[in-house]
Amino acid sequence: MADKMEDSPSLAVQQSRERGSGDSSVSSSNMAEIPTVVQIIERQAASGESSAAGGGTGPPGSLHHPGFVLFKQGAEARLYRGTFLGRPTVLKERFSKKYRHPRLDEKLTTKRTQGEARTVARARKAGIPTPCIYFVNYQSNCIYMEDLRCATTSRDYIVAVQSVGAGDSFRALQPIMDKIGKILATMHDGDIIHGDLTTSNIMLKQDASATDPEVVLIDFGLSSVSQLAEDKGVDLYVLEKAFLSTHPNTETLFRVILKSYTKHSRKSKDVIKKLDEVRLRGRKRTMVG
């Protein structure tokens, strides 16, 4: 999957020797094996692939949204790409789930659309990078938002880096984990609970002119506002579970996120304490009611 820049047998031998010896010095031939964020973004743009977990088949160029083309169908919403007011736009359409009681379905769908729009506005005020919301249609539960050009999910990037299997995948990912921790700290300090933190909802945006990728959060459908350390602890717990189940053997990577979070948050002590408590709950559950 990764770009392997092996232009000569001797280079390949040098690379494998360095990998095998666990040499921690940075050599250009070794670093070339680990894809950069920009490389992943470009590769995905060329092939049209993306975090396609659960991608269903919907009609392309939906009748209901002329000019928009479906590019992803999740469990709850369809995503379309198009142009709105002259800007490249993503249309997120929440659809009704027929297994739910109609009243419950309506309540949840509206609540999630409204909640997403309001929380994104609040997040942007707090300095959290998110796509800009252009328009919301509350009748159809559609959100028109900025299309993040030149971006990939942190999920795709971590998978790409890990699939190369080189020893310094940790070093390549560490700065990104640092940034993620910092953004989450800012978010929680602003009393915003994301509610669905996964590596698919943490985007990495980097156009060709930027030196480093920017972390952008998306999908605030389950978000809420809360001052409680418990809610923030659960928020981190959700990310930890998603992280470790999607990317096996990344415990040390996740710890970088928590360390950065603790460093940048003003209220981290109670939150981390709650995180520890929630982790144990899965192990201490009693059956007696």
């Binding site: 739910r100 949840l108 959700v238 559950r285």
Partner: protein, 352 residues
């Protein structure tokens, strides 16, 4: 590797399984995937009361030898025909678990057969797979004591989503006590029948947290609100049962769908006592149909805790070399599904 259930070549393997981790006491005998017997005796408390460990253990002690005899008689199996004695090691309630394990250990020594400690959750999963033929499903395991969304990955049954506080069955059982609904045959069954007559959907808190769920919020809300809603005639008991089911089941279907999207799965298997509920099965079916996936479920013989499921998991473990030495045959109240090495399936999930 021979994938058939021992029809040619290896001699058939017969396993007896002992289950008593909660209020259901079961002894079952399985021979190469065929259920030869599966008798069960349930400890039922009066309406408004839950079951406590000490009384449950007494119940198990009082009935286990009869249930064991029944299992042998119905299967027409003699001790010497048995290859392995499997029992529930955990998770569950301490005293009932031990009461059952003591008998398993005794007969294993009496009959001179190897002993096998089985994880209760894996018992449900393996019985579900066997009975329904589901190949590699996302499993929703829902009972009075457990609520987990599980999928097989690289030799483990990994937990993708679960409750962060109480199990959904526990929520339903405790709500039944508030309304003094009968526990015979089970509180969940009676809530289900009442819900069928309910019409009005009361707004209840909805607790999905990412891939996890939380039920203590909705339980405390409905425990507090029930009396005033009933008194003010805003809802009937049937409406409350209906509303609770619709809400908690929607939560379960939602996290199951998330796991399916995450894993790219096209099969979902529902196991555990709450899995008997036809409304839950219906809702899951609607979700699955929209994704082009299939739902698998078993009936009350296998949804509800039983001995044969322990025997079935024991069969898989035994034929791939597991044995529990007597010194290690303790029980534990906490035993995570992902702690067990699934030696009977290969990396892609195929049987070994």
């Amino acid at each position: 590797m021979d994938k058939k259930q021992g029809t040619d070549g290896p001699k058939p393997i017969t396993v007896i399984g002992f289950e008593g981790s909660a209020n259901k006491l079961g002894v079952g005998i399985i021979r190469d995937g065929e259920v030869l017997s599966n008798p069960r005796h349930t400890y039922i408390t009066p309406p408004g009361q839950g079951f406590l460990p000490r009384d449950t253990a007494k119940h198990h002690q009082a009935h286990i030898l009869d249930v064991l005899q029944q299992a042998l008689d119905m299967a027409k199996v003699k001790p010497q025909d048995i290859d392995c004695v499997a029992y529930t090691k955990g998770p569950g309630m301490g005293a009932p678990l031990v009461s059952t394990a003591v008998v398993a250990r005794t007969v294993a020594q009496l009959w001179n057969k190897p002993l096998l400690g089985v994880n209760h959750c894996i018992g449900h999963i393996e019985m579900g797979r066997r009975v329904t033929g589901a190949v590699n499903p996302v499993v929703l395991y829902v009972s009075g004591g457990n609520t987990q969304v599980i999928a097989y990955q690289l030799k483990k049954y990994r937990i993708f989503g679960e409750t962060i506080d109480i199990a959904v069955g526990n929520c339903l059982d405790r709500f039944a006590r508030v309304l003094k609904i009968s526990n015979d045959p089970s509180p969940g069954y009676n809530i289900e029948q009442m819900a069928k007559k309910g019409e009005k959907l009361i707004d209840l808190p909805y607790g999905v947290k990412g891939m996890d769920v939380s039920f203590s919020g909705i339980l405390s809300y409905i425990e507090d609100a029930a009396q005033s809603l009933l008194d003010s005639k805003q809802a009937t008991p049937e409406d409350l049962c209906f509303s609770l089911q619709e809400t908690v089941f929607a939560m379960l279907v939602e996290i199951t769908e998330r796991a399916m999207a995450h894993c790219g799965s096209e099969e979902v298997l529902i196991v555990g006592g709450v899995g008997c509920n036809e409304r839950l099965q219906e809702m899951m079916g609607i979700m699955a149909a929209e994704r082009g996936a299939k739902v698998f479920a078993t009936d009350e013989r296998y949804c509800i805790d039983n001995g044969a499921m322990i025997a079935q998991a024991g069969w898989e473990m035994f034929r791939t070399g597991h044995v529990t030495p007597l010194a290690d045959s303790w029980c534990t109240q906490r035993f995570r599904t992902d702690e067990v090495e699934v030696t009977w399936r290969d990396d892609s999930g195929e049987p070994i």
